[in-house]
């Protein structure tokens, strides 16, 4: 390790000098880097996906056997395969001009939003935790716990129309918040690492839901792995009313409003509230936060509770919106996709919202792409994975697009080493 910038009298110019970033700085850049990288990461990921689509296409493979004789054939076939797949994806996720009615033409967009709602909400939860310097891997478990409580309130209680929905949503939110608070409290009190604790809590939630679905209360008819349906009074109302569209098959529900409100709330929380100030201060520099009189333990616990609450809301979008009952697979992979969404959104509320929409669109579009062009839907997974990969390596994206490096930030200087012989037995800088 080099010696730069350690002590009382070191020249400041060594601080602004380029030097290998430390772990915390790398994570911070990954988590809160700039939007350009995010957009370019998506572009590159789509290009990589395109290559895979071409390679997987039988027409391309056929023509490539005589590539050197007539390379044009291969290129044409590749273009057809890739453009066909992406056009199908667009038709399946945004606007389908081949559909007969206007309603059917715009339905893909609403489907994308339906998939996006839980991703946005859970993504916000992950993003808030990121801002406090916490890696919340536990959205999956928080969704499961939130879904259990929200669905139970939804099917087991009998309440008037508006109140029932409110209580069911509140139940999901609180359950997620409590489950999320556990790693926050443990981290603040004992220093237990939140990554490990949340991963373990995910397993606990996963086995808990399998167990509870076998219990009388959740499975009265012994029909299988599905709870009774949530009462109509506890479901999110559909946003496209039946009288507007004949044969209404739109699934878009009021969870969208919850997601929008949650996004605005998150912005207010982080940018305009005292708690948000604490969250950001603790996330950026715990030492300074503590010196300024903030309670780091309290902030960590509250942050994780809010993060869990967001995941709980994501759960309500599933059980009170689209699924309308509890199944073991209720969380699907939302909790993990949410991490990608938050990363792509740079832990910013609006960014997370947009990233959630994109991922919702990829999911919705993937289905049509598979059915129309026989391109495997796994391509979507590849695209998502490449996005994560690129976001985790900003210099790679910068070098692909020949972007300038970000201005060298002044790095935090490590504490000066203390001399030996004195009461403190720390000796020299390593």
């Amino acid at each position: 390790m080099s010696s730069q910038g350690t002590g009382p009298d070191t020249d400041q110019d060594t601080r602004s000098a380029p030097q290998p970033a430390r772990g915390g700085d790398v994570l911070r850049e990954i988590v809160t880097g700039n939007a350009v990288i995010s957009v370019l990461a998506v572009v590159v990921a789509m290009a990589v996906g395109g290559v895979l689509i071409a390679v997987a296409d039988s027409g391309v493979r056929g023509s490539s056997t005589y590539f050197f004789a007539r390379p044009g054939d291969t290129l044409v076939a590749a273009w057809r395969a890739v453009s066909g797949a992406y056009v199908a994806m667009f038709r399946g996720s945004v606007y389908d001009w081949q559909a007969a009615t206007f309603a059917a033409q715009v339905k893909p967009l609403t489907e994308s939003v339906v998939y996006a709602i839980p991703l946005i909400l859970a993504g916000l939860g992950v993003a808030i935790a990121f801002r406090a310097g916490l890696f919340n891997i536990g959205a999956q478990g928080q969704i499961i716990v939130g879904a259990i409580v929200a669905s139970y309130v939804g099917f087991a209680w009998d309440l008037p129309v508006v109140l029932h929905l409110l209580l069911a949503v509140l139940g999901g939110l609180l359950a997620g918040a409590l489950y999320g608070a556990i790693p926050g409290i443990l981290k603040g009190r004992t220093g237990a690492h939140e990554v490990i604790v949340t991963i373990m809590l995910n397993y606990i939630a996963l086995y808990f839901i399998s167990w509870i679905l076998k219990q009388q209360a959740f499975n009265p008819g012994r029909t299988g792995q599905r709870s009774p349906a949530v009462e109509g009074s506890a479901t999110y109302p559909l946003l496209v009313p039946d009288l507007l569209v004949p044969g209404n098959s739109f699934r878009l529900h009021a969870g969208l409003l919850v997601a929008i409100l949650a996004t605005v709330f998150t912005w207010w929380l982080l940018e305009r509230s005292t708690l948000g100030f604490e969250i950001r201060a603790v996330g950026a520099n715990q030492h300074a936060a503590r010196t300024a009189g903030m309670s780091v333990a309290r902030t960590l616990a509250l942050t994780m509770a809010i993060a869990g609450g967001m995941a709980g809301l994501a759960a309500t979008a599933q059980v009170l919106g689209t699924e309308r009952s509890l199944t073991a697979g209720v969380a699907a992979s939302i909790g993990f996709d949410a991490i990608t969404v938050a990363l792509l959104g740079r832990s910013r509320p609006l960014g997370t919202f947009l990233a959630g929409l994109l991922f919702g669109a990829l999911k919705a579009g993937g289905f049509l792409m598979q059915s129309v062009t026989a391109t495997p839907i796994d391509i979507v997974l590849v695209v998502q994975s490449v996005i994560v990969l690129l976001i985790a390596a900003p210099p790679l994206v910068r070098s692909i697009f020949r972007l300038p490096a970000p201005p060298a930030r002044r790095r935090r200087r490590p504490r000066a080493a203390r001399p030996a012989g004195g009461p403190s037995q720390e000796v020299t800088a390593p």
């Binding site: 020249d11 201060a281 935090r412 504490r415 030996a420 004195g422 037995q425 800088a429």
Partner: protein, 530 residues
């Protein structure tokens, strides 16, 4: 070996750290490189040591141009560097430390580590230069001054003929500094060329043969050691500077801040602050002097509540603080300037405006209930930065864009913006340029004159002597003694910093003046400095 740098230029982005620097160091001379923090001294030496590649210019050793791809090349060419913070492994012995990096191995296929030859080498060098270092001593058990000698031995063991010492005295007591100066003279006699980087005028005059002054990346002049401190200072800063703090005698009032029998334990359970007691009255400055790492940091942290007190009481205006949370202690009227500004004092990614309310963000007028008022935070920042003359382009820029001096002014502006009973500042001018130091000192004295009790923790004797009304010297967690500033002289304080009790220190100091103390006397006769 003759060392010559020709037109060395090194830029970082838009920052020109070194601008066409020429430097000639004759064989066997001690050449001081004098400049403020941020002037570009360390960058230049890192270029010379192969850590940075220069953007322009040439390095010549004995008239031969050389290029270094890394420190390995520089070491092979006979350049050795002693970093300000030592690159030693605490649990290694001296011999192992010296062997590290070019471990001697036995001949033969096994190639086993041959510590015997490393041991021999250490003993040889140690005897030749009178280092008095035991090759089998474990590094972490050695005092800092001896650790530094181990670093020098490491360089010499690799046949360094040019030795770069980067701020070597920062961690030493005045007596250890004397010993280092003696060693430097020994090395010079033996023909080693020494480049000595510092911003301390006193040391330069005591040891250097020639002085090159660097300001803002450029060589601004050469000076001889006969120059007065005021001449060197104005050359270094670029204008006339006053080295003394202009202050009236203290007008102490009632006792405001009392520490009684305070002990703080390290995580390992040893007492790092050991039964410390003192009283500070309103309107006086108590400086806590001592070599870094003798419990001052922990003392300050315990007063604020960052580390728990194992024993004893902390009283502010008669009420007990020990059980209060940090926030409540701040609210009780403690202003705290932390020792490590960039770690504890500011959040570097936050804006200047946010940093100015870092400990006030949830109080009126900046917050109402859970909601903060960005407009009030902004207005406050405009006022404070104007009042404290913080140089910046926009208060909404991250504080990381500010220089160290301006960032420290932000911290000070924040802490002095509320009514205080006690101002506790650790190393308030560490890493600052001379202009900022003047400013910070003046504000501290102004706060004192308002009747606030002031405690300054400083390892710089110059600062202690400039600010203090009384001086408490800490050594190994205990207060060795408390002296009135009027009776405090450099030699006595220096001996006390090494653990010698007050009376003994007085007697010993009267028998023997350290060379820096003598420099002090001559400086005094030259221009009334200090």
């Amino acid at each position: 070996m003759k060392l010559e740098l020709r037109g060395i230029t090194k830029t970082f982005g838009s920052l020109v750290a070194n601008d066409r620097i020429d430097l000639v160091v004759e064989p066997g001379e001690i050449h001081a490189l004098l400049g403020e923090n941020g002037a570009g001294k360390s960058t230049l030496m890192n270029v010379l040591y192969g850590l940075y590649e220069p953007d322009g210019g040439q390095i010549l050793l004995d008239e031969q141009p050389v290029t270094f791809d890394g420190p390995g090349d520089a070491v092979a060419a006979g350049i050795g560097m002693v970093h300000q913070h030592f690159m030693l492994v605490p649990v290694f012995t001296v011999a192992e430390s010296v062997a590290l990096g070019h471990e001697p191995t036995s001949t033969g296929p096994a190639g086993l580590l041959d510590l015997q030859s490393a041991r021999r080498r250490v003993r040889e060098i140690s005897e030749r230069f009178g280092f008095d270092v035991d090759p089998d001593a474990v590094v972490e058990n050695l005092p800092v001054g001896v650790q530094q000698r181990v670093e020098i031995i490491k360089a010499l063991a690799r046949d360094a003929r040019v030795l770069i010492l980067d701020e070597p005295t920062a961690v030493l007591t005045p007596q250890e500094t004397d010993e280092l100066i003696a060693i430097m003279n020994e090395l010079k006699q033996a023909g080693t060329t020494i480049v000595f980087i510092t911003h301390k005028l006193r040391e330069v005059r005591a040891v250097a043969d020639r002085i090159t002054v660097i300001r803002r990346g450029q060589v601004v002049g050469e000076a001889s050691p006969e120059s007065t401190e005021a001449e060197l200072a104005s050359l270094m800063v670029g204008r006339q500077v006053s080295l003394a703090v202009d202050k009236r005698p203290a007008d102490p009032r009632e006792a405001v801040f009392v520490v009684e029998d305070l002990s703080v334990l390290s995580p390992a359970g040893t007492a790092v602050v050991d039964r410390v007691s003192f009283t500070v009255r309103g309107g006086e400055v108590l400086c806590v002097a001592g070599v870094q790492g003798n419990g001052q940091t922990e003392l300050a942290e315990a007063v604020l509540g960052l580390v728990p007190a194992a024993h004893g009481r902390i009283l502010l205006d008669g009420s007990e603080l020990s059980r209060l949370a940090v926030r409540d202690r701040l609210r009780a009227g403690i202003g705290f300037v932390p020792e490590d500004r960039s770690t504890d004092g500011v959040v570097s990614s936050f804006t200047v405006a946010e940093n100015l309310v870092l400990d006030l963000y949830d109080a009126a007028p900046f917050a109402r209930g859970p909601a903060m008022s960005p407009a009030r935070v902004h207005d406050n920042a405009q006022e404070r930065t104007a009042e404290f003359d913080v140089r910046l382009t926009d208060v909404q820029d991250p504080i990381s864009t500010l220089s160290g001096g301006n960032a420290q002014k932000v911290v000070l502006a924040r802490e002095l913006s509320r009514p205080l009973r006690l101002l506790l500042a650790s190393q308030p001018t560490r890493g600052l340029d001379v202009g900022s130091i003047e400013f910070v000192h003046r504000r501290i004295i102004e706060e004192r004159d308002k009747g606030t009790a002031v405690v300054i923790v400083s390892t710089e004797l110059d600062e202690v002597l400039a600010l203090a009304d009384r001086v408490a010297v800490m050594y190994r967690g205990t207060v060795v003694g408390i002296v009135d500033a009027a009776d405090a002289d450099r030699d006595v304080l220096g001996l006390m910093m090494a653990g010698v009790p007050l009376e003994e220190a007085r007697q010993e100091a009267s028998r023997h003046h350290s060379s820096l103390g003598e420099a002090d006397l001559t400086a005094g006769s030259e221009g009334g400095l200090t």
